[in-house]
C-alpha cells in the first residue's frame, strides 16, 4: 500500500486516491489536422516504462484535486510529487 503525499492535504493512504495514468499527454491542438496514426498514438499508445514513471493521481476521497507523481514502477517508491503546471522533476 502506498503512502502518497498530496500537495494540498499531506501524506494520505493510497485508498483515498485514484491513479489517472500517464501524465503530460497533450491533447493535440488541431485534432482535425491529425492523421489516423497520430490520433491513435495520442489516444492509445503509452510509454509504460519499467522504472521512473510520471503519472497523474486524483485525491478522490480528499480534496478532489489532480496532481502529478514521479514513481518507480519497479519498487513503487514515490520519487517526487508536483502540482499540475509545475516543472517536471528529473527522473
Amino acid at each position: 500500500m502506498l503512502l502518497i503525499r498530496c500537495p494540498w492535504c499531506g501524506p494520505r493512504d493510497e485508498m483515498e486516491f485514484r491513479c489517472g495514468g500517464e501524465a503530460h499527454i497533450l491533447r493535440p491542438a488541431d485534432p482535425e489536422a491529425l492523421a489516423d496514426a497520430e490520433w491513435a498514438d495520442y489516444l492509445f499508445m503509452r510509454k509504460n516504462p519499467k522504472g521512473a514513471h510520471r503519472e497523474r493521481w486524483l485525491h478522490a476521497l480528499g480534496c478532489r484535486r489532480w496532481f502529478n507523481v514521479l514513481r518507480s514502477t519497479v519498487s513503487h517508491e514515490i520519487l517526487a510529487v508536483y502540482r499540475m503546471g509545475e516543472r517536471e522533476p528529473e527522473a
Binding site: M1, D36, W39, F44, M45, R46, P49, E55
Partner: protein, 416 residues
C-alpha cells in the same frame, strides 16, 4: 521423448523411479536460429510447439529470463472458458477451448483439464441483460452457454448465498459447462517437453536485453548469454511486452498492472464449479488439493513489481464472504501477484509489428491462460506464413488506428 503410459509407469516402478529422464534438455544457445521466441511461458512454449508440429519449423529457440512458467503461467487462477461476446473473440477463444479438450493426449502429458462449469453471476439489472445477451451471442457462435435463474444457480452451486437480503443479490448467472480449470504448471511443462522432443531449444536464465536491427528488419537479439541471430523474433512476454517492443522502437497501447491471486488452506470438496462475479468482484474455484483459488482485481497504477496493494485483496475477500458466508472463517495461506499487459479494449494483439521480422503476441491482460493453446496455434501460423490466420486477423496492432476495437471488458471478468 519417452512416452508416458501405464507400461512406462510399471517399468519405472520396477527400477524404483530412478530412470525417469528430464522433461527437456538444457542446451546452450546456438549462434543463430530461424525463429527466436522471447518468453518461456505457456503462450511462448505453445507457439514453439505448434511451429514444429503444424509448420515443420524446428530451428527455434525459446528464451526465458527466469524459469519456465515462472511468470503469469504459474500465477493465474487457471480458469478456462470461451464465452466471449464478439464474433472475433468467440472464434479465437473457442478454437482454444477445442484444443484444450484434446491437449493432454496430444502432448502425452496430463494437464488435469476439469470441465466443471464456469458460473458468471449477475447482480444488477444491467448485468442480467448483458448476461442474457452474451449467452445468446455465444449460442449463435456455436458455444455452449446457458442462462440460469437464481433457483437454478442455487441448484448448480449450493454453497452460494442466493438470499435476496444481501447488498448485491444474485439475479441470475451465465453458465458454460465446458469451461473449467487446468493445471497451469503442467501446461508449461507439457508444451516444453513436446517442443523439446521436436528439436526446439528451450533456454532458461537468458534475458533479452536488446533487439538488433539492420536496415529496418530484425537480425537478432542481445541477451544475458550473448548475441543470438534470428530471421524472426517473436515477443511473447506478457507484462514486459512494452519493454521489449520499445527495444525495437515500437510503441504499444499496453499498460502493465499487478493482478493478485491467493489460496486458502486446503479443505474437503465444497465448491463444484468456477464462480465469477464482476460486480462484487471475486472469482474462485477449488483446486484438486482442496485449496480455494481466488483472484482479485488489478491495481490501478502501472507496475512491474509482481505484487499489489493489500486493500485490493481486502475488497476481494469481502466479496467472497458475501457470496459464500460458509468461507468466512477459512484462512488464506499465500498471496502473490503477476504483471498483466492490459489493452484498452481488453483484447490481445497477435500479429506483425511495424519492423520486418518482428512479431508480438501480448496484451492478453487479465485473461490469457484460457487462450494458451489457441494463442500459440494462431501465432505459430502468423510467424510461419508471415501473415495472420483468419482467427487472429482482427487482433492486429492497426485496429487502434482503424478504430476496429474488440471491446471485451464485459466478458473479461476482471475489473480494470
Amino acid at each position: 521423448m519417452k512416452r508416458y503410459s501405464i507400461f512406462a509407469l510399471l517399468r519405472n516402478a520396477i527400477s524404483r523411479h530412478q530412470d525417469w529422464t528430464p522433461l527437456w534438455r538444457d542446451p546452450d544457445p546456438k549462434p543463430r536460429y530461424r525463429v527466436v521466441i522471447v518468453g518461456g511461458g505457456g503462450h511462448g512454449l505453445a507457439t514453439a510447439y505448434y511451429l514444429a508440429k503444424e509448420h515443420g519449423i524446428t530451428d527455434v529457440a525459446v528464451l526465458e529470463k527466469g524459469w519456465l512458467g515462472g511468470g503469469n503461467t504459474g500465477r493465474n487462477t487457471t480458469v478456462i472458458r470461451s464465452n466471449y461476446l464478439w464474433d472475433e473473440s468467440a472464434a479465437l477463444y473457442e478454437h482454444s477451448l477445442k484444443l484444450w479438450e484434446g491437449l493432454s493426449a496430444d502432448l502425452n502429458y496430463n494437464l488435469m483439464l476439469s470441465q466443471r462449469g464456469v458460473l458468471s453471476l449477475a447482480h444488477t439489472l444491467h448485468e442480467v441483460r448483458e448476461g442474457v445477451r452474451r449467452a445468446n451471442a455465444n449460442r449463435l457462435n456455436g458455444i455452449d452457454a446457458e442462462w440460469l435463474t437464481p433457483e437454478k444457480v442455487k441448484a448448480f452451486c449450493p454453497v452460494l448465498n442466493t438470499s435476496p437480503e444481501v447488498r448485491y443479490p444474485i439475479l441470475g448467472a451465465t453458465l458454460q459447462r465446458r469451461g473449467g480449470v487446468a493445471r497451469h504448471d503442467a501446461v508449461a511443462w507439457g508444451f516444453a517437453r513436446a517442443a523439446d522432443a521436436r528439436g526446439i531449444d528451450i533456454i532458461q536464465n537468458c534475458e533479452v536485453t536488446g533487439i538488433r536491427r539492420e536496415g529496418g528488419r530484425v537480425v537478432g537479439v542481445e541477451t544475458s548469454r550473448g548475441y543470438i541471430g534470428a530471421d524472426k523474433v517473436a515477443i511473447v512476454a506478457a507484462g514486459h511486452s512494452s519493454v521489449l517492443a520499445a527495444m525495437a522502437g515500437v510503441r504499444l497501447p499496453i499498460e502493465s498492472h499487478p493482478l493478485q491471486a491467493l489460496v486458502s488452506e486446503p479443505v474437503k470438496p465444497v465448491l463444484n464449479c468456477v464462480v465469477m462475479s464482476s460486480t462484487v468482484h471475486v472469482y474462485v474455484s477449488q483446486s484438486d488439493k482442496g485449496e480455494l483459488v481466488l483472484g482479485a482485481g488489478i491495481d490501478g497504477f502501472n507496475s512491474y513489481a509482481q505484487r499489489g496493494s493489500f486493500h485490493v485483496i481486502e475488497g476481494q475477500m469481502a466479496a467472497l464472504v458475501e457470496l459464500f458466508p460458509i468461507f468466512s472463517r477459512m484462512r488464506m495461506m499465500r498471496s502473490w501477484g503477476g504483471i498483466v499487459d492490459v489493452c484498452p479494449d481488453a483484447s490481445p494483439i497477435i500479429g506483425k509489428l511495424p519492423v520486418e521480422g518482428l512479431y508480438l503476441n501480448g496484451g492478453w491482460g487479465t485473461g490469457g491462460f484460457k487462450a494458451t493453446p489457441g494463442s500459440g496455434w494462431v501465432f505459430a501460423y502468423t510467424i510461419a506464413k508471415d501473415e495472420p490466420h483468419p482467427l487472429n486477423a482482427p487482433f492486429q496492432l492497426d485496429r487502434f488506428t482503424t478504430g476496429a476495437l474488440i471491446d471485451e471488458h464485459g466478458a473479461a471478468g476482471v475489473a480494470h
